[in-house]
Symmetry: C2
Subunit: 160 residues, 2 copies
């Protein structure tokens, strides 16, 4: 697939949907949400999830389908909570209004049942198309000391 200007495009087909959980996008308290990630039974059987219950956490790649393409930000905006003119670029924040509208989140696996993965703490609303599921493997986490600006920590205060 190519765009009008010849750029190569990547096409993904949702492998699953979020079922249950929060119906509308609103910030905060995501840690208490329970939901199901249901595999598309026309493409996958239960064997695609074999062994997943051996992991405590799941990494979920999803599509922010409720963000309109007109809302996408590809530049910079003021740093949250500051009014000194400092700017933060779209790739230095995790706003959902981002090019390609891809989300990546970690959540806890409660149980696996057939095509259903029961999870808690997933910050995606009901109906969200899921593009990939990966087990969270400790060694794939960040290596070395983690450093982040104060505004990022402040923003996360009530998120989960």
């Amino acid at each position: 697939m190519r765009a009008e200007d010849g750029a190569e495009l990547v096409q993904s087909r949702p492998i699953a949907r979020v079922v249950g959980g929060r119906a509308e996008v609103c910030e905060g308290g995501w840690g208490r949400e329970e939901a199901v990630i249901r595999l598309d039974g026309s493409m996958f059987g239960p064997e695609a999830l074999f062994g997943l219950e051996g992991f405590s956490h799941l990494e979920v790649v999803f599509f922010f389908d409720q963000v309109d393409s007109q809302e996408i930000d590809s530049g910079a905006r003021p740093v949250p909570g500051r009014d000194d003119g400092a700017l933060v670029g779209i790739f230095a924040q995790r706003s959902r209004r981002r090019p390609n509208r891809l989300g990546v989140s970690r959540c806890q696996i409660t149980s696996v049942d057939g095509l259903d993965v029961h999870v808690s703490g997933l910050d995606a609303v009901a109906g969200t198309p899921v593009l990939d599921l990966k087990p969270y493997v400790r060694e794939f986490g960040p290596r070395g000391e983690i450093r982040q600006p104060e505004w990022a920590s402040a923003l996360m205060h009530d998120y989960y």
Copy 2:
């Protein structure tokens, strides 16, 4: 966009490419690799990266473009290193031969220079199309105790 059977498809346009680093896919020692993630200058200006140097780590969503669509596994395979018939599903492993061929990795940010993010420890080869960049924010990491099967830890022994 829709597939032939009517399923909704998600289209992404690479926002960047991996420049330098390892030229060929081979496992092990990724932690020592240095590379550049170069934003597509036809879509973005340097402001899209403003503030990124305040973070130590980057989360990179990329497309395994060297995996042929024929190679994709959507079922299960024997658990690595075991011959007792135990199976592990494609969504319980991080193999690149996965539906949608999406990779998600963490790496360290060395510096940001115009449209270039210099990184170390990225497990993606030169030329890899990058679909998203997100700053690694501690609070978005896994919450609670992390548990994973022994085979996953063993597999990671020489990876980074």
